[in-house]
């Protein structure tokens, strides 16, 4: 546990990506199996403990700490694991720090009733940093600023490999990944994962900056709509069928309707949508189907899933990724015509003439299911990662409104103790005359750390009421919020909800009377 706790502690304070990478690579290179494998799983989010949940942790602390003092502390610290680690009243013990493997295997092997004693014993033997690391580990979500991909990059770096190589074999591996380390260290061959419906790392697009748009030689590119769903990879091989998210998470369990339709031997790339009578439903409908382990018959009926395909990676064992986009597109069309799997269709190619025409199509696309355009180089192979140049996403400009800050809530994690979540409203005329603010949404991104400090200060100085972690503020600060679309919503007092709102600009200068009214929201409703 000691090296692992030291790693997490160093990671959380290390601001630079390369620094984080160096810390992890050093850890993986110097820590023996199986500890490093468990640490890797913890960092990639592939470790979970069914028996040790936050509720259990609360109970454990409640047995030793005055509940009121714990509640006040948690409210201040804003993070359950850190609060518990700091507040834990240690009892003397002569036990040494446990190894990471001992913790992981111990928890997995323990029955529900044994877990509290096991945990309490470990907590007594660790110091505050060790306890924090242990509790972060078991409650999930390390929040040390490391993505699964960065952790894999660190492993790859041991042997000077590329992260795509690790991602390619990743889904054929199991904890604690000994063959992976043996391979990157050059002691053994690459793990054999060719067979099966494993995840293949995706090719991702870069945003097209407006200044680059004009210099782009559009004749070399193909264009598609950018659909407002989520990117998925469907892989079927020898009876095994899997659906992966863009990060390689297996989300098959939530989509039995799609699995049933996957009567093919191929790996395809596409956009997951909810489709009703050939119409793409709002993103909100798709959200009903996401992040679920299982799904009811009613959900399947109400929110039918569909995948709009745009690439073919494998066909009957043949790796098509080295082929050009045009060649793969042709193979995709032929394959789809031949197999015509249910619940799929092809994302059409948009005829490209010149940039101006494309620009018009992009801004003219007010259909809520379209986010903008995708531009893909005709001669480019399918490359893992986000190579610069072959693929661009060209989102249409967001909608904006000038709104007034109404409530601010303290953030969690990195933003604990800062008022960082903002509920904002627009003006609405009252029956009794005059106008009042009604909330239309909440935003917690789009500002810099410096701006956050300034808003936080403003909130503290203009508080009129407190409700736990929420402060009501006197109307006085105008935000320009950007968002993707507006929808009717019975859940909001204003009757409308904004999709993906973020702070676009802070209008310190703007008088609140000049903020938008409810009719402005109405005017922006999706068609």
């Amino acid at each position: 546990m000691k090296p692992f706790a030291a790693l997490l502690d160093a990671l959380i304070f290390m601001p630079s990506r390369n620094g984080k990478l160096r810390l992890m690579t050093e850890y993986f290179a110097t820590t023996p199996d199986p500890d490093r494998g468990y640490a890797l799983a913890a960092l990639t989010g592939d470790l979970s403990f069914r028996t040790a949940k936050p509720a259990l942790l609360r109970q454990l602390v409640a047995d030793r700490v005055d509940p009121e003092l714990f509640a006040l502390s948690y409210d201040f610290v804003g993070d359950l694991a850190e609060t518990a680690a700091l507040i834990w009243p240690q009892r003397p013990t002569n036990r040494d720090w446990p190894h990471l493997a001992e913790v992981v295997e111990g928890l997995n092997g323990a029955g529900r009733t044994e877990v509290p004693t096991l945990l309490a014993g470990w907590l007594d033997s660790l110091d505050a940093t060790g306890r924090w690391a242990l509790l972060k580990l078991i409650t999930g979500g390390l929040r040390v600023g490391v993505s699964a991909r960065l952790a894999k990059t660190a492993v790859a770096a041991i042997g000077g490999q590329d992260v795509a190589e690790v991602e390619e074999v990743w889904h054929g591996l199991t904890l604690p990944y000994e063959p992976l380390f043996a391979w990157v260290e050059g002691r053994e061959d690459r793990p054999n994962v060719a067979a099966g419906a494993g995840f293949r790392p995706l090719m991702l697009a870069n945003p097209l900056e407006e200044r680059d748009a004009d210099s782009l030689d559009i004749a070399l590119y193909r264009a598609e709509w950018k659909w407002d769903g989520i990117r998925v990879q469907m892989a079927a091989k020898g009876g095994e069928r899997r659906i992966y998210s863009r990060t390689g998470d297996d989300i098959s369990g939530a989509f039995p309707d799609l699995l049933e339709a996957m009567a093919f031997d191929a790996v395809v790339d596409g956009e997951l949508l909810v489709l009703r009578e050939s119409e793409v439903a709002p993103f909100n409908d798709l959200q009903q189907r996401l992040n679920r382990k299982s799904v009811t018959a009613k959900m399947l009926r109400d929110y039918p899933a569909h995948v709009r395909l745009y690439d073919l990676l494998f066909e009957e064992g043949e790796d098509l990724r080295p082929l050009s986009f045009d060649a793969r597109r042709l193979r995709l069309e032929q394959w789809h015509a031949r197999t015509s799997p249910l619940r799929t269709d092809l994302s059409p190619l948009i005829p490209v003439t010149d940039m101006d025409a494309l620009r018009q199509m992009r801004s003219g696309a007010r259909d809520q299911s379209i986010e903008g355009l995708m531009l893909k180089r005709a001669d480019s192979p399918y490359l893992a990662g986000r190579p610069k140049g072959p693929w661009f996403k060209w989102k249409r400009d967001p909608l904006t409104l000038d709104v007034v800050l109404m409530y601010a809530q303290r953030g969690h994690g990195k933003r604990s103790s800062f008022y960082s979540d903002y509920t904002f409203g627009v003006w609405r005329e009252e029956a009794a005359g005059g106008s009042a603010l009604v909330p239309v949404g909440k935003a917690y991104s789009g500002f810099t750390d410096e701006e956050l400090l300034r808003i936080d200060k403003w909130v503290r100085a203009h508080t009129t009421n407190r409700f736990g972690p929420v402060r009501e503020v006197e109307p006085g600060l105008v935000f320009e919020v950007a968002f993707d679309s507006a929808h009717p919503s019975p859940r909001h007092k204003s009757g409308y909800a904004l999709r993906f709102p973020r702070i676009h600009r802070i209008r310190w200068d703007k008088p609140i009377e000049e903020a938008d009214g409810i009719e402005a929201v109405r005017g922006l409703l999706a068609v």
Binding site: L69, S73, V77, L86, R415, S416
Partner: protein, 337 residues
């Protein structure tokens, strides 16, 4: 004659605590006729009072900060010396917070109230240790009054800093410290740990370091961090107010490791939010255990809790059978907020 109820002679006013039978305030936040000052931090020692009573150390700090104020009557009182103001007998006792810091002990018709200002219980090479004074009402701060705040031994934290210095000899190490108290204490702790190289200090620290030296606190070799070549700072320690670290000022330093010495550094996410790479949990305020221990040591049947996390300390005191309430004092800053 019956013993007066404490709230009948010490009351909370908008400008701070007022001692009615002595007609003076303790640490008032606005200019008043007569002020008794516990210590030199700006939120306790404000300028503009007509008369001031404090320890010689505190008076020296106030003079350094505000200059010698025209027409102000200043009275220096040594620790333990009694003085009568009206019907009130007043003594100052060490609070262990910063140089000159004092608790104000007030006795009136057999009732004693001790206003402790800010304090800590652990050893501080720059000032005498806190002395518990038995009393009827103990007025306490609550800056770190949550059981998550347990300051580790200072030597461990100084060790972390020296370790990092050895690990990154090519980088400057800049430590954010308050100009009054924390800066001089950190310097003394470094000297005690055997660090005898010159320490660079930001201009805002200069005057107070000189004042400490003049008051008999040896700080070793200090150099102004002014107008120097970047190269000169490599592998060196630089002390600066926290506000300067995030500012353009720090651009003169080569790839600095940013450390901050503060009790708030105990909470990781807070340290992280402030962009701190090397958090050092060194505080001039009592931690949770020290606060609880102090309530037990002074044995007062009643406790008034001032600035900080009053709720938790009031809760704890009540659970110990002590009458406790939070005083709604305005104008006190939280360290490092």
């Amino acid at each position: 004659m019956s013993i007066p109820k404490p709230e009948s002679w010490v009351e909370v006013r908008p400008e701070g605590l007022y001692v009615r039978p002595g007609r003076f305030h303790v640490d008032p936040t606005r200019p008043v006729e007569k002020a008794v000052i516990t210590h030199g931090h700006a939120d306790h020692a404000r300028a503009g009072h007509k008369a001031v009573l404090a320890t010689p150390g505190t008076l020296a700090i106030m003079a350094a900060r505000y200059g010698v104020e025209e027409g102000q009557a200043r009275q220096a009182l040594a620790y333990g010396e009694p003085v009568n103001i009206g019907e009130v007998e007043l003594r100052l006792h060490p609070a262990g917070h910063v140089l000159g810091s004092a608790q104000v002990s007030l006795t009136y018709r057999g009732s004693r109230i001790v206003i402790s200002g800010d304090y800590k219980r652990r050893r501080d090479p720059t000032c005498p240790a806190f002395e518990p004074v038995p009393c009827d009402v103990f007025v306490t701060e609550a800056t770190f009054a949550l059981p998550v705040f347990r300051h580790p031994p200072d030597s461990e934290e100084i060790g972390k800093l020296l370790h990092s210095l050895a690990l990154f000899p090519e980088r400057a190490h800049v430590v954010g410290v308050y100009a009054l108290g924390k800066a001089q204490r950190v310097i003394c702790l470094l000297r005690e740990a055997g660090y005898d190289a010159p320490i660079f200090i930001h201009g805002a620290l200069q005057g107070l370091c000189e004042l400490y030296e003049a008051q008999g606190v040896a700080l070793g070799p200090l150099l102004p961090a002014l107008a120097r070549e970047k190269e000169e700072f490599r592998g060196r320690l630089v002390l600066a107010p926290p506000s300067a670290i995030a500012d353009r000022w720090s651009r003169r330093l080569p790839e600095p490791v940013t450390a901050v010495a503060s009790g708030w550094m105990r909470v990781r996410q807070r340290a992280k939010q402030r962009g701190v790479e090397l958090p050092l949990v060194i505080s001039d305020h009592a931690d949770w255990d020290e606060l609880c221990q102090t309530l037990a040591d002074v044995g007062a049947p009643e406790v008034w809790v001032t600035h900080g996390r009053e709720e938790a300390l009031v809760h704890h005191a009540r659970s110990q059978g002590i009458r406790a309430r939070a005083l709604a004092l305005v104008g006190f800053e939280e360290e490092g907020q």
